[in-house]
């Protein structure tokens, strides 16, 4: 548990305090997102928790211990710290980067190596391929993964994350967020997450702390924040059309439609046509015996291919989202690929169903009416 009691911070030479009289409690296993415009004090607040910045007044407790009475090095070794990918050490390999904290703690070499492999698997980087590469050899998304692995190296109960997914494109960011939420479901870490992006806050947070000019404006669960903004500032921040924002809160798992028209790879053109008639659609998905998505066929592609099998006509499907993604991610994928639906697949690439644009539109319309 992290507790802040009337914490203030004034930077030397500055008239305006960066953080004013902040009191809040972050429960064990909770993701608390600090959100607000730049200069609102959210990063300062986070850095006061691991004493990169000391408060001018007030007390901070981590697990009921007054942090001002703990050696800062010991405090920090117990708190994972993730910043944007630029925080990786450019001269060290991925394995060396991930091993930073265990090495600092003096673990034996075997144990460090084992832990590094374990963590790289956990964040989806094959140790055999990436262990000895340098950060510069990796893509932005991969570097962010390394940043997360590095912070979790010594399995700290608390993680501080400063815009950890800030420097990648929206699609990659959504994937990283989903991966991280899946990890968090198992790890149950206490997380302080700083972002300026309200959408990210709504998606990631169990509780959201909206900050402005160094003050805490509202500290609420995402759903309540959307339905009952404390003032105009919060209302503007979360946006007028909150039913659209709520797309961040709904997981594809909960609403995926299972009655997808699909055919086997061996299906004939006639069978494909009748599947389309039956569902009154212009597209069918091709799915093999073990439920793996093989491709998609639209009505236009059925012309002049009599006698062919589904597997030969099918086009690859790129507009997919993973199990655990939000409806907002699904919408982003539709827009990105210019399709009116997305296929939902699990981590073994098995088809779980589809979500259509019409479904999303209905959902948003219903919400607005309610």
């Amino acid at each position: 548990m992290i507790k802040l009691e009337q914490v203030s911070r004034v930077f030397p030479g500055s008239e305006v305090p960066a953080v004013v009289d902040l009191t809040m409690t972050i429960g064990d296993g909770e993701v608390c997102v600090l959100v607000g415009p730049s200069g609102c004090g959210k990063t300062t607040t986070m850095k006061m928790i691991n004493r990169l910045i000391d408060p001018t007044s007030g007390k901070i407790y981590v697990n009921d211990q007054d942090t001002s009475k703990i050696d800062p090095i010991a405090l920090r070794l117990g708190i994972g710290y993730v910043i944007q990918e630029i925080g990786l050490f450019p001269h060290m390999t991925i394995a060396e980067n991930v091993a930073t904290v265990p090495r600092e703690k003096g673990w034996p070499r075997d144990r460090i190596n084992q832990r590094v492999d374990e963590l790289m698997h956990l964040v989806g980087l094959n140790p055999g391929t990436y262990r000895n590469r340098l950060p510069a050899d990796l893509s932005g998304g991969q570097r962010q993964r390394v940043g997360v692995a590095r912070a979790m190296a010594a399995d700290p109960p608390i993680l501080l994350m400063d815009e950890p997914f800030g420097a990648v494109d929206p699609i990659t960011r959504a994937r990283l967020q989903n991966e991280f939420l899946r990890l968090q479901e198992q790890m149950k870490k206490t997380i302080v997450f700083v972002t300026h992006d309200i959408d990210e806050a709504i998606k990631m947070g169990d509780r959201i702390a909206v900050m402005r000019d160094g003050r805490l404006v509202q500290y609420e669960e995402p759903d309540k924040l959307l339905s009952m903004p404390a003032d105009d500032f919060v209302a503007t921040l979360v946006g007028r059309n909150r039913s659209i924002k709520r797309l961040h809160l709904i997981k594809v798992n909960d609403v995926v439609q299972n009655e997808t028209p699909f055919v086997t790879p061996e299906a004939s053109v006639d069978e494909i046509r009748s599947a389309m008639e039956e569902r009154k659609t212009n597209t069918v998905l091709v799915v093999n015996a073990v439920n793996k998505l093989q491709g998609v066929i639209s009505r236009a592609e059925l012309k002049g291919v009599e006698g062919a099998r589904a597997a030969q006509i099918a086009q690859p499907v790129q507009n997919t989202v993973e199990w655990g993604a939000t409806l907002n991610d699904a919408l982003a994928v539709m827009l990105n690929y210019g399709e009116r639906y997305v296929a939902v697949v699990n981590s073994r690439e098995e088809l779980k169903g589809v979500i259509t644009l019409n479904y999303l539109l209905d959902l948003v319309r219903d919400d607005a009416a309610a």
């Binding site: 990169l52 010991a74 944007q84 925080g87 050490f89 930073t100 590095r150």
Partner: protein, 208 residues
Amino acid sequence: MSFWEFFITRLDRVWALTLEHAWLILVAVAIAIAVGVLVGVLITYSRPAAHGALYFCQVMMTVPSLAMLGLLLPLFGIGFTTGVIALTLYSLLPIVRNTYLGIREINPAVIEAARGMGMRELSILRRIKLPMAFSVIMAGIRTATVMVVGIGAIAYCIGAGGLGEFIFRGISQYNKDLIVIGAVCISLLAILADFLLKRTEKRLSFRS
């Protein structure tokens, strides 16, 4: 007597003086590296100290080399030591300055990440700052070395030996060949030193 014959008859002397010169440079630069890197690191923690130290080194560089020897002579007398001290003072500036700048120019986010993860200042220095500033520091060492190989000629005047002997004797005897031998040997020594340092840098940075 042609230049080549002149050169061949003095080959032993050329060799001895070149080694003497190289040794003088080696000792001076080694001391300058030890002192310069240490000072360069220390002044990254204090802006006023950095200004003071860099200013001092800058002033040292502007003192004409003959005047420098003149000032050091009453303090340390004639001989090798005085030569080493003079050359060390000259080579300090590039080493101190490059160490300081190399560390200061590291992305602050990297150092803050290290601090935020609980690394102690000494491990940050050893594992983050110095390795990341390494190529800049090496550039400073190379500049300093090449420079003092040239300045080193003057060390002859205070009895510290070296290739300056050819040049100054050439001047006093109106012997152009002697001057050329001295100048060429000094240039070759500078090129060789730069090449060796470049190789050392490559090898060391490949290892990390």
